[in-house]
Structure formats: C-alpha cells, structure tokens
Symmetry: C2
Subunit: 623 residues, 2 copies
C-alpha cells in the first residue's frame, strides 16, 4: 500500500475554501466527515469524499483541512491503515489515546482568531453540528454551512450517484402493506401531536414503501427521502426507475386512490426546498418530527420551535419488530445460508489439507455456494475470511497483500452473510482443520459458554439488550480474558445487516427494550494479537419464554437461534461445559441436523449432508 499523493488536491481545496464562487466568506478550515446525507454506515463511491481527499478509505474517519494543516481523526481499528494510506501532508489523530486532541480543541489551537470553519450541512448530523458549533463559538470562531460540497468541486472524476432499478416486495415478504405502514406511522404522529414526519435514513425509506434497491453495496437501499404528512406522501427519488411498471403499480402511482395515500414523486434534490416550504407554512403548535441524526441542513429547514427530534424514529422501532412474514422469511433465508455453509465447510475440510485454499478463495467459494440458493441477492457485508494471526484483526477483509493460505495448523474464522429476498444473514464460525491445541480449545469453549449464556438467557419483558452483555463475558472474565467489541447488533429483514434501535453491548447507548420479534446477533469472541481469533455468531430471534412464575405479570423473553450451522465440536473442551451447556449444544445440533439436514436432502446435497451428520454428533460429558 503506497500513500495517495495529495499535495495538489489540498492546494486546490485551499483555493476553493477562499473562492467567492463557492463560499460567501473564506473559510479557514473545512471539515470532511465520513458519512453521506443519510448518515449511512455503508456509503456509495460518490460519497467517499474523505477517502478521495486523503487516501484513507477505512469506514470511520473525519478529515479537517486548514490553510496550514491537514488532519485525520480515526479510531484504533484504522491507525495502521490510515498511516499507510496517507502522505506527509496529513497528521494522524489517534482517537482514544490520551494525548489526542478533539477536533474542536485542535481547531481552536491552530486557527487564527475569529475564524470560520466550513462543513457541508447535508453531511453533518444536527447533533454533531450543535456540539461542534458551541465549542467553536465559545472560542470566538464560527461553524458555517457551505452549501456546495467543496470536495465535489475539485473531484473531477467523481463517480455518478447510483440510481439502480428497484425491487418491489409483496405482502408475502413484508407482511404489511406500505399503506398500512403509513397508517401506523400517522397514528404515532397523532399520538405525539406532530403533523409531519421526515424520513431521512435510507433503510427507513426502503422499509416504509416495501421497496429495495442496490445503490449502496451490501445494503439493499436506494437514495431517497420521504416526507409524510397527515394527508400527503412525498417521495424524493431520482431516475427512470420510477418508470418501471412494477414499481408504479406497487406504489399505485397510476391508480385512483384516496388523496391521503396518493404518493407525490419529486426529485431527490428538491427535499430541502420542499421542507423549507413546509417549515414556512407551519402555525404555532404544529410540529415536524425528525431523527436527531438527520442532517443539519434538513433540521434547519424547520424553525427550532416547530421541531420534534427523537433519537429513534417510529419507523426505526417498528422496523425492528419483525412480523410473522418477516420472521418466516428470515428462517427460510437462514436455512438456505446454512446449506451453503455446510457445502463450504465440507469442501474446506477436503481442500485445506492440500494447501491450495487462501482466505480469498474461501470467501469466494462461500459466495459461490450462497449464490446457488433461491432468492440470493448479494452479500450482506464484506466477508471476513481470516486464518491464524489475521483472525485477531476484528474487522479484517482479505486483500492480496494480506491473503494467507488456510492450513491444518491454524484456526480459521469466517464471518459472512448474505441478502436473500426473504431475509438477511450474518454468521461466524471458527474452525480448525487439523488438531487444535488445548489452549485454543479452552479459549473457544469460554467463548461458546458466553454465546450460550446470552442465547439461553431468560429475562423480563422490557429489558434492554445492554443488560445481557456481561453474560457473554462472564466465563472469559473468570479466567482474566475478554473481547473488545459489543456482543450483538440488530439485523434487518432483507435490509441493513446492522440496524437500530436494539443491540447487546457494554457501551451505554440509548438502546430500546428488547421485545418479541426483534432480531439481534449473539457474537462473543476472543482475540490473541499475532496468533488467532475466535468468534461464534448466531442471529437470534427474541421470543416469549415460558417461566415457572410471572412477577408482576410482566412476562419473560428469550432467544431462538435462526442461524443453524454446526459449531465445531472438535474445538470444544467438553469438560469445561456444565451439563446444561452441554445439553444446549446437543439440542442445537439436533435442530441443525433435522432442519438443515432435510433441506440438504431436498436439494440433493448428499456429501454436505454426511458432513452435517458427522458434525452434529452429540457431545458426551464425562462426570
């Protein structure tokens, strides 16, 4: 990896920072955040502005360019990568280290008095703007919105914004029509006494209209906004994709419908002007509901007194609770995914000893097996295929420079998933194709105990996921071990593989209580730098639990694994398991054998079926 030479680019950027053509007044600093206008986790190539100006293309980072300096803030996952990808024009600001200044403190330390700091108001979330603006103002500077994105003005070969065809999802997939979703949303709006709701997150637009796209890799979403009134629906979307007869019919664009369900299609770029018009027309006590993560530009379009901001939108919360059609779809998707992985692991078991399988080949093979399954659309994230020391890099993705050959001497970790039209998968298995050491087995077994502790946990209705995080760590903690990531995240239904508002993490974040129908991952791990990585991940569905008693009639919940892929028994030190844990593994494997076995049989995949049967032999615990 050689660094990107940015001297000329920075020179150009500094010119436009002073050019009256682009800025009302010169700005002494310009902030280039990571995100897009929808605060997406995964972004399209045209939105990779920070990577363009700096060369650093990790998933998280903020660049700030002043007349004299260029600095990049990123976190521990990316210190090495950023240092390799950026040239000497850049200073790396290592977030999380004690001596690293915050962006605000650094700006205050380098800027001349009374400076203006520019940022694209469409990219910066309103809550970040507020914090940054306050800090700068208290030191005599100003944060100013720069309407035209200054990176775009110098990015001559910037790719087009994607505008790919849409997929319509019928009731058999979604369980609820977009019309009924609008009705439910309007009832939430009425409860909170708001007249308008602005949909800014791409997965929320997709979910609301039962549409999917492919504008962003791995996430089946499309660039759009929506503004829902009590009697109006406005969808802001570009391209001839709205000419597709299937889409027109799905949205009833050419039908006679009640006025309150008539969708007005408008250009993507007209959202700001339309929202400003809404804002200008409000009477006292009329409110507009936005996510507090919406962009500063859209938030400012509504006068402050009329804004109703919440961390989670009613769509985000409704989307998280899957209905029967969605959970059935997720079940089907996970069965197909398990078939593909049984094929893969059977193949790996034969091929790895030959010494010809690299991490990239294994990842490609996994994709090949998945793509043979019905309704396969694409992967749900970049496959983490890692062996030996690469397994300890939590967000590893094999590239030719790091590509390692799988062997019978090293642990192999595969974290992968796919988008099927009926559901999204995300599964991690850790395997050994030779003989694992006692220490590797010991660590694997602690991780497994943590996985089981979460999966089998029973907890009251209304419990927040973060209260379960320590269950996943307890066995590791007992031996002085731990892992430095959360235990689980929400999973979309043929949508983003990471979604809010629930999760299982030690980090205190405003998670919503778990309820039946929510779907999260359960993925504890253990990582030894330079040696190996272990992670065991299932996607699990929150279901009601039967309990002996029922305190205050609250009811209880537990999890049902949707992922049904054998956990390699060779890696388990069975004497470290309690009888209860041993039974959990055996019951789980029995279910894998029954459900996936039947599907392998149906698909005529006899060799993989034999593998499954071998891998699901019951554990026997010596007392």
């Amino acid at each position: 990896m050689s660094p990107k030479i940015t001297t000329e680019l920075l020179k150009k950027l500094r010119q436009v920072m002073k050019s009256p053509k682009y800025v009302e007044e010169p700005v002494q600093a310009y902030i280039v955040p990571s995100g897009d206008a929808h605060q997406s986790e995964y972004i399209a190539p045209c939105d990779c502005r920070r990577a363009f100006i700096s060369g650093f293309d990790g998933s998280a980072g903020t660049a700030i360019v002043t007349e004299q300096h260029a600095a990049m803030w990123t976190d521990g996952r990316y210190f090495l990568q950023a240092a390799h990808q950026m040239d000497n024009n850049w200073t790396l600001m290592k977030m999380g280290l004690k001596d690293t200044p915050t962006q605000e403190d650094w700006l205050v330390s380098v800027l001349p008095e009374g400076s203006k700091v520019g940022v694209d108001p469409f990219i910066i979330p309103a809550d970040q703007w507020k914090r940054m603006s306050k800090a700068l103002r208290s030191s005599g500077h100003d944060l100013v919105p720069v309407k035209e994105n200054l990176i775009d003005t110098i990015w001559t070969d910037c790719p087009q914004r994607p505008c790919k065809p849409l997929i319509t999802l019928d009731l058999s997939y979604t369980g609820v029509s977009w019309r009924d979703k609008i009705i439910a949303l309007r009832s939430k709006m009425a409860e909170r006494k708001v007249l308008w709701f602005v949909v800014t997150a791409l997965d929320e637009v997709a979910w609301l209209f039962n549409l999917r796209g492919s504008d962003v890799e791995y996430n089946p979403v499309f660039f759009a906004y929506a503004v829902i009134g009590m009697n109006t629906i406005r969808l802001f979307i570009d391209g001839d994709r709205m000419m597709d007869p299937a889409v027109r019919e799905h949205l009833q664009l050419d039908s006679i419908v009640e006025p309150e369900f008539k969708i007005q299609v408008m250009p993507y770029g007209s959202i700001l002007a339309e929202l400003q018009a809404v804002g200008a027309g409000l009477s006292p006590k009329e409110k507009v509901w936005l996510s507090d993560k919406a962009s500063y530009a859209l938030t400012e379009a509504i006068p402050k007194a009329y804004r109703y901001l919440t961390p989670y939108t009613p769509i985000c919360i409704a989307k998280a609770v899957k209905n029967t059609s969605e959970t059935e779809g997720m079940r089907r998707a996970h069965i197909k995914d398990a078939v593909a992985l049984c094929e893969l692991f059977n193949w790996l078991e034969k091929e790895v000893p030959k010494g010809t399988v690299t991490e990239i080949i294994a990842a490609d093979k996994a994709e090949e097996f998945r793509s043979q399954q019905k309704d396969f659309v694409e992967l749900s994230f970049a496959t983490i295929s890692s062996t030996g020391p690469n397994g300890a890099i939590i967000h590893y993705k094999p590239v030719p420079e790091t590509n390692r050959t799988l062997s019978v001497n090293e642990i192999y970790l595969l974290d992968s998933g796919a988008q099927y039209k009926d559901g999204t998968t995300d599964v991690t298995r850790t395997m050994h194709f030779g003989t694992p050491s006692a220490y590797e087995k010991e660590c694997f077994t602690y991780v497994l105990k943590g996985h089981i502790a979460v999966s089998a946990a029973i907890f009251p209705n209304g419990t927040k996921g973060h209260l379960l995080d320590s269950f996943a760590r307890s066995a590791l903690w007992d031996c002085g071990l731990d892992y430095l990531h959360g235990t689980g995240h929400g999973v979309g239904s043929f949508l983003n593989v990471h979604e809010g508002p629930c999760g299982i993490s030690y980090k205190t974040f405003a998670d919503e209580p778990l309820e039946a129908g929510m779907i999260v991952s359960d993925e504890p791990g253990y990582y030894e730098d330079g040696s190996f990585g272990i992670r065991i991940e299932n996607v699990v569905l929150v279901i009601p639990a039967e309990t002996k008693y029922n305190f205050k009639n609250r009811g209880s919940l537990t999890f049902e694994p949707l992922t049904l892929v054998p956990i390699q028994t060779k890696m388990i030190d069975v004497n470290l398991l309690t009888q209860k844990e041993c039974n959990w593994v055996n019951d789980y494997h029995q279910k894998c054998r029954e459900v996936i076995g039947a599907e392998l049989e149906r698909q005529g995949r006899h060799e993989a079926l034999q593998w499954l049967i071998r891998e699901t032999e019951p554990l026997i615990r010596v007392q």
Copy 2:
C-alpha cells in the same frame, strides 16, 4: 395518620408570594424542593420545608404552590403515605404513571400568561434549574430566584440549624492527613487547569478535613462549605465548635504553617459573597470547579465562562477509594457489627416464639447490642425491621400504626447498620424462626444465588458496576422473578451509608469504574406484595483477583465480603445451588466462624458464639 391541615399555611405562603417585603415582583408559583443547600440525601429538621408546608414527610417529593393550586410530586414508594399525610388542599402527582404531568407541563397548564415561578436558589441544583428554566421560558414564563426562603418566613417555630460539636479523626482512622488531601486535590486542579475548587457536599467537606459531625441524623456530617484555592483554604462553618481546642489543633488554626495550608475560618452564611468576590476577580482562562449538582445560587456566583462543572468531583472519587487504614477500620467495624447481630439473632431465636417481640422491639434491641460495641456513634440509617407482608415494603420503617409481632410463621427481614468511629455498616438478613415453606426457601435461594453471583464475580479492571447488575438477577429471571431496585450502592467510611460515584444498578447512570479499595453493597432481593420480603445484603470491598490469564495486562477485580454474619441455612434449598455456590456459602460461613467467633470469644459472649457455631454448619449438597 391524620392529614396536616394546611389551609392557613397556604394562605400565608400565598401572601408572602406577593409581598414586596420578600419578592421583588410577585411570583405566581413557588417551588418547594426536598433538599437542603448541599443536595443531601438525609436532611436536618430545619430543612424539612416541604414536609412543613404539606404534611408529607417522605424522603422524596417536590411541592409547588400557585395562587389556586397546591401539588405534590412523589414516586411510587410514597403514594399511600403522601395521600394519608396531606389534606384536600393538595393534589398528589404520582410520578412514573403515564398520565401524570411533569412539573413543567403542569405549571404551563395552570399558570396565567407571563408568570413568574419562584424558587430558593440555594436549594435547587444548577442542573435542575437549567431544565426547569428552559421549559418555562419556552412557554413564556420565567423561573426566578427568591433570595429569602418563603417557607422560612412563615415557619414561626422552625427548628434551629444544628451546630453540634465536631469529632476529629486522626491518621489511624483516615490514613491520609487533611493536608495531604489538599495537596492531592490541588494536583487534580492543576491537571484540569482550574484555580479554585468549591466543596458543597457535606460528606466531601467532612472527608477533606478529616472531621465528622452530627448535624444530620445517621450521616456524621456538619454544615459547612469550603473553597480551596491553589494557595488558600477557606472553611465556611458556624458556631463555637471551632473554639474546641482539639479541633483548633487538628486544623492547625493556631500554629505557624505555610500560607498555603493556613485555613481561614469564615461564617457559613458568607459563602455566597465570598464566591461572588472570587468570581469577580477572575482573569480569562481562570476556572472554578464545582459539582454540576451544586446549588443554582453558588453556581451563578461564578460567571458562566469561568465555570468548570463535573458530575463527580475529585473529592467524591478519591473518597470512594478507601486506603488501608480505612479498609482496616471498615473490617473492624463489620466485626463489631456482626457480634451485635449474632447476639440479636440468638436473642430473637429465643424470644420470638414467646410472641412478645415486635418489629420496633427488635429494631431497638439491634441498636442496644450495637451500642455496646467500641466506638459506636449512631445508626447509619433508620432500621428496616419488617415481618410478613411488611417485608415487601422495600423502604419500610416500623411505626406504632404498622408495628407487627414477629412469629414462627412469617419471614423476618432486618436491614440495619451503624456508624462506628472506624467505619460504617449496612447489612440485611432474612430469617425464619419456624419452618419456612418450600416456596419461601426457593425464592430465598434464588436471591442467594444472585448475591453469590455478584460477590464471586471476577471482572476486568475498569468495569463499571452497572455491568454486574444482571448477574444478581439471572437466577430470579430464569423463573420469571425479579426485584425492582438496584443491587448495590457505594458505602462511606464513617460517612454516608449511600455515596457515589459507584454502584451496581440496571439504571443507566454515570457510574465511575470500580477499582480496588472501593466499597459497595451487594443486596439482591425478592418481594411478594402482601406476603413477604427477602433481601440478602453484604457490604463488599473491591479487591484484585488472581486469574489464570491476564488479557492486555488489564488485571482483574473481585469482591471480598466485609459483612460476616451467617446467612440462615434453614432458608436455603441446597439442591438449587451448584457445587460452586454451595462451596461459597460454606467458605463464607467458615470465615464468619473464625473471625466473628474469635471476637465473640474475646468479648465473652458465649451463648452468641454457640449460636454462631450452629448457624455456620456446612451445607451438604446431595448429588
């Protein structure tokens, strides 16, 4: 309980709310919060203004009086009590219920346009002022500080502010001199670049100067403030108690000392003027450090640009980590406390079957046995002595109207503690003096499993207490049970029985990470309304743990029980315990027998010793 008749009082209050003698402009509403000027949990009789005006004397509640209305906000613990104690002039606002308005919303709904809402700026914490003021302003009203407390103007027989003698603590108790505490504080101030630190919490003043008082029941504190500069120490305190030669010598008031350790003693009431003088004399970049819970009056004395506010002060954090002298003192205090409880339980075992022991008699007897111990000062909180259904009332305190007789047919719960000159105790034991039912034993055993899960937990250095809360609930959750309070709180060293900044609770609060030397309680429970209450509480010390491995060299922690009082084995269903839990109970009882047995022997308390030996017989688990 008959309600207090408040018609005349409210009339008088409404008069002074309009009287130019007391208010610059008439106020249309007056807020009477619970607290004192130091945001204390326990308050002196002269500060019980809300109880005086309303009759309601629970520990939490806020009264608001307008020209037409009088309303009281309190939480679920006090709905019944408040309803009984208040007359028809008052509306009870049940906090936590869906339809109960917030104080702000209610004020907005009842006030005429452009109203002024008054409050004593010394009583309201700055963060509450900010929230309330913002909400009122956005509806066209104003929150205004009323310098003279309006309740005090009509409270003709208001008790004097207590001004009791001080106790000096020498190095053998405190481990660190007040001089060294000042040095450490100044070094924290230098780190944060602040020039002044304002000590507002009573326990922080007491801890800093190694002094104790008895101005407030149960909490060995005294009314005082302190302002620490880099070269000055100002102590604001009233009364002739500063004439005490022991105090004068302890504080070196008459000695020749370096100027930076010279304590200037000033009147308690002069704090505001002195702080305003400090505020007026600041140059740019000079900061004053205050708790964000300090009163609005003191916070406002420092211009906003010069304030440095934190949720926990460096004194609060330093105070929480006990040094060797303090932990040794806490150990001694807990040994004495255990001796008293062995005596009590032995006595109860003989007396309860006679049917002559009431909850109040049992509580008094507990105090009697404690008061026989060396360096006993007072109780550390009002004893919760409750039998049968009273045990299910979590904050129960027996009074003649509720006083129940202990019997061989009901569970008895005793939550009690004391202040000794060497430490503070807080212990709960749940006993049966007859034959408990299988169901009672089952519930007790789940609570015990939770107690052990926390007490025996091993966790990494830097872990926050709230991450351990679910361990205490897991066994209850498995059966659909739970308890509706946190699992533990910080405990002071001959100081407040509840102290920050750490604790063990499901409630997300900004707790500081646990570290070796911190002391918290471990007190899960189970309560069945109308039937019984179970709680098992030990005070535990955070200590380093030995582990097999040591991930990232972080080190591990665990707990050592300081409380050494037998847990009634009669209440345990031993078949519900794992072998590990069974061993924990046996090891714990072995330690009780050794340590407390030796002290009972030394004190010649032979009958209690025999009781202890009987009660600490090892459990045997049938496989």
